[in-house]
């Protein structure tokens, strides 16, 4: 039992410390809309859309390179939500991204 606790604490501490510091040290500037779109996608990371994961899909949407219907796990609500969001939110230089359903 003690072993388990020590092991768990040690392992998660190591990982948590590395990850949390790495996330700030290795942070890269991104389009602020990217994270919002990722949050709207199902995040199943299944790859069925042909893009490398949901992040890849979000990037492709912002590049106007992907149709929303490519996302197999996503439903009508998700598509409408993303379309609505993109119609309302421009990027930092004020340009709007067209959505492809």
């Amino acid at each position: 039992m003690q072993v388990v606790i020590i092991l768990a604490v040690a392992l998660s501490l190591i990982l948590a410390v590395i990850l949390s510091f790495a996330s700030s040290v290795l942070e890269v500037e991104e389009d602020p809309r990217l994270q919002d779109i990722i949050d709207m996608l199902p995040n199943a990371n299944c790859g069925a859309c042909g893009n490398p994961g949901c992040k890849g899909m979000a990037e492709a949407i912002l590049r106007e390179d992907a149709k929303l219907s490519q996302c197999k796990p996503g439903d009508q609500d998700m598509r409408e939500a993303i379309a609505e969001y993109l119609a309302e939110t421009p990027n930092e230089s004020g340009e709007f991204t067209k959505t492809k359903m």
Binding site: L15, A16, L19, S20, S23, L41, P42, N43, A44, N45, C46, A48, K72, P73, D75, D77, E80, A81
Partner: protein, 207 residues
């Protein structure tokens, strides 16, 4: 957002039909193909997924407001992995035959994109009751999907259903129970599901 929230009933039925994980979302395809040799193991896998998905949706929805965004995924994974490990132990203890027939795929429920997908897409944004209903609906839809595939494979490939012989040996298509046959059966079924969906869409457009 001004969007209307889905009713509990809609949440439940989405997983069964409109958003069926097997035939529409194509989530968790590894077990879909790997454990559908027999109806028995498909049902066993389905039961496992129901347990893990309902529990993980419940727990994640309960803690959704305390989890920092940066470690969201590791934490979800840890919870799911623990649930899978617990499931594995129970299965090994009380249904050892089933556990050995599912093999590594029992542990691999952890990486079934359905589980993590629902955690991210639904449980982290909804209250516990709705999350449980969603998890149950999705897992049930998954179970139904893989069971249908298993019925086709076992019936025509091994000539039996749940172990009872139905079709004599000379009319069996042995390839269906082999690895390659899984692709064939699944491919044909998806194409037919697509056809039905397309017909429906056309009709609704006309209407």
């Amino acid at each position: 957002m001004a969007r209307r929230q889905k009713s509990i009933k809609e949440v439940f039925s989405a997983g069964l039909f409109k958003q069926n994980p097997t035939f529409v979302q194509f989530l968790g395809m590894c077990p879909t193909l790997a454990v559908t040799k027999s109806v028995e193991s498909a049902l066993g896998m389905g039961a496992g997924v129901i347990f893990v998905l309902v529990m993980s949706n419940l727990i994640i929805s309960l803690i959704r407001n305390f989890v920092p965004k940066e470690v969201r995924i590791p934490i979800y994974i840890v919870i799911i992995a623990s649930l899978v490990t617990i499931l594995e132990m129970f299965m090994k203890a009380y249904t050892p035959e089933l556990a050995s027939s599912l093999g590594t795929f029992l542990s691999l429920i952890v990486v079934n994109c359905l589980i993590l997908g629902r955690a991210e897409a639904f449980a982290s944004k909804n209250n516990p009751i709705r999350s449980v209903v969603d998890g149950f609906g999705m897992a049930l839809g998954f179970t139904g999907g893989i069971t249908i595939i298993a019925i086709f494979r076992e019936l025509f490939g091994a000539g039996s259903l749940l172990g009872y012989s139905i079709i004599p040996e000379q009319y069996q298509v042995g390839i269906l129970v082999q690895a390659a046959g899984a692709f064939l059966v699944f491919g044909i079924l998806v194409s037919q599901v697509n056809r039905i969906r397309m017909n429906k869409e056309e009709r609704s457009e006309v209407a």
